[in-house]
Symmetry: C2
Subunit: 418 residues, 2 copies
Amino acid sequence: MALSKKPVTGMKDIMPEEMEIRDYVIGVIKETYKSFGFTSIETPCVENISNLNSKQGGENEKLIFNILKRGEKLDIENAASKEDLIDSGLRYDLTVPLVRFYSNNANNLPVPFKALQMGNVWRADRPQRGRYRQFMQCDIDILGEPSNLAEIELILATTTTLGKLGFKNFQIRINDRRILKAMAAYSGFDENSFDTVFIILDKMDKIGIDGVKAELLESGFNADSVDSYLELFVGVENAEDGVGYLADTVGEFLENDVRQSFNEIIDSVRATKSSDFELVFDPTLVRGMSYYTGTIFEIAMPEFGGSCGGGGRYDKMVGKFTGNDVPACGFSIGFERIVLLLMEKGFKVPSSKKTAYLIEKGVGGDMLCDIIARAQEERAKGNNILVVRMNKNKKFQKEQLLAQGYEEFEEFYKNPLK
Amino acid sequence: MALSKKPVTGMKDIMPEEMEIRDYVIGVIKETYKSFGFTSIETPCVENISNLNSKQGGENEKLIFNILKRGEKLDIENAASKEDLIDSGLRYDLTVPLVRFYSNNANNLPVPFKALQMGNVWRADRPQRGRYRQFMQCDIDILGEPSNLAEIELILATTTTLGKLGFKNFQIRINDRRILKAMAAYSGFDENSFDTVFIILDKMDKIGIDGVKAELLESGFNADSVDSYLELFVGVENAEDGVGYLADTVGEFLENDVRQSFNEIIDSVRATKSSDFELVFDPTLVRGMSYYTGTIFEIAMPEFGGSCGGGGRYDKMVGKFTGNDVPACGFSIGFERIVLLLMEKGFKVPSSKKTAYLIEKGVGGDMLCDIIARAQEERAKGNNILVVRMNKNKKFQKEQLLAQGYEEFEEFYKNPLK
């Protein structure tokens, strides 16, 4: 078999220019989240296949990279289906592994546990421009905190990080699965059809209120329910206090606690935020994953069409592993999109002085020692020193080095008078 | 299928205490290598199976985690062997991917290209204490530099990094495949049997010179050759200048260039090193991989039984992908072992002030806002502030927080007089 120079389909090599930005973003993220009391953890990239197929991952479960059994366990002759051949797979997100990690280690973790995870995930999606089958996710989660302090801290930590990376004028859209449900229940939809209703509602920003209406009617929902439902959205739009309007309108369908807690999140974040963004109630925000149980949120960047991260509360997932529910809330930042935006902006990473020493070919012995000793001294002072042999085409070499950020050059010749 | 709380066999969850050290080590490594002009790159964790099985990986090729084909390409019914079922696998090292990366991107890379890679690799080894099937590798490589400047810079960069991490009194053992070969040729071994001879020689530190002698004779080698071979090692041991003794003894079997370049590496590193270690010529150093063509080196830590990293020159590997050889030399630092040693030492990561705000349950509204606003101010100053609800057992909570490095506490009550 011939060696292939290309990466596997749908995955990419990352070049030095992009890596510099990635490393910088990782540094800012880790430092900022640490200042909020988050601690890093890591789980293996490989997970038991039963965990990956546990219905927590929604559509992503169809996109798993499966790993073949090894040794005697692999019995190709008698394998009837894929399931007989595999025992594990590459993780498609960091939430399922986190919940497994927490279930496995809860006794040795603080309460609440504030986790930061940065790691690759894999999805065998159809390759398309700008979307890759391996990509970095960056999640913060708080487990064991039932109060809205979790939501407040998650939103503040994420937005502070975005601010430090130079983003402004973005929006955090916030909603609550319980508000979504209250609105649907008030309008007379049956609980069994909520998911169908929400999938249609989720298209609001693409097809508008008329499109949503048409699709709801097409799906056979009662016209009165549809009208009453859509009126709620118009009402929120026109109200000064959208949450208040809704709560007053739907009445007993929404618990008072939810309203109060939701407002507290909005008020606290607005009062204490340290970067330039808007927190807005968006009753059309759905978030795909069925595991969310309460608050949900999403980052909307003007520079970037779609969402640039999101999250929410998922209080019932730990229970799937342990039998005991643990309150949980997380926020995932769209790492790859942030890097892409910074690259497109021409963002330059702040860096120490970079100097290149160009040494003529043939320089060796004591003279080489002296040059390297000098480089070592400069490095000890915190400067970046590249020591390289001078190329025949010195002019071109310097142009290349300039492009890599080397601003100063020193040249060393065998015969210094040259 | 039930959900499994444990990680997959042979892989581990990484807890916050270890992650803190890992993140710190990664930071020191990246900063130091950057000061030597290395730039980070990344390749996908998944590689084409033909590249992984290209005979560059030696024994590691038996330990590959194979990835199942997907969609229509997967034809279980007609699959005769493993090869029909898979198209890719998890990388088992960073060298094969680097060479593929270089072959794919050489036109857009500087000459020489100094690459830093930090990433996970996977080997389905038999699980054993302290060795995992997923582990981090950390490699620096210089491609396109034929002179010994590559070796000098690699050794200096690696040892400077180890020094910054607090390691001292370690050894860098250095040898050259061409010296190994010259010694074997001089002693009358046939070139075809060199690999067998070297595999036995490699056991010198375990079975001693008598053991090596016995095994060489057992393998049917000529007694005169064996005697003459082992005399060389005794001679080096007793010589003041081991390389000089060898070169003089084996004469034409070793090119003069090799001797001069080898000595220049030793002299330059000794003269310019910035940390406390010994560079020693070790004629018994073999390094397993058959791809090495010149200098080879290894880190020996007194605190740690075996090797703690190593590398060497492999000038013929790029040619396997492109048809054109490119000089290449690399040094891999034993990341996992370094982390293990620091953990065992009880190493504490330098950190900014960590304060925990404990808020009584029920505190909300404006008061919560004020507390969070204060936390935000402190964080903006670079301090780490954890904002949590006060547990019923406040004493225990504080003990836990102390163990996590929180030294100061502030308590907030609904009724401040409490």
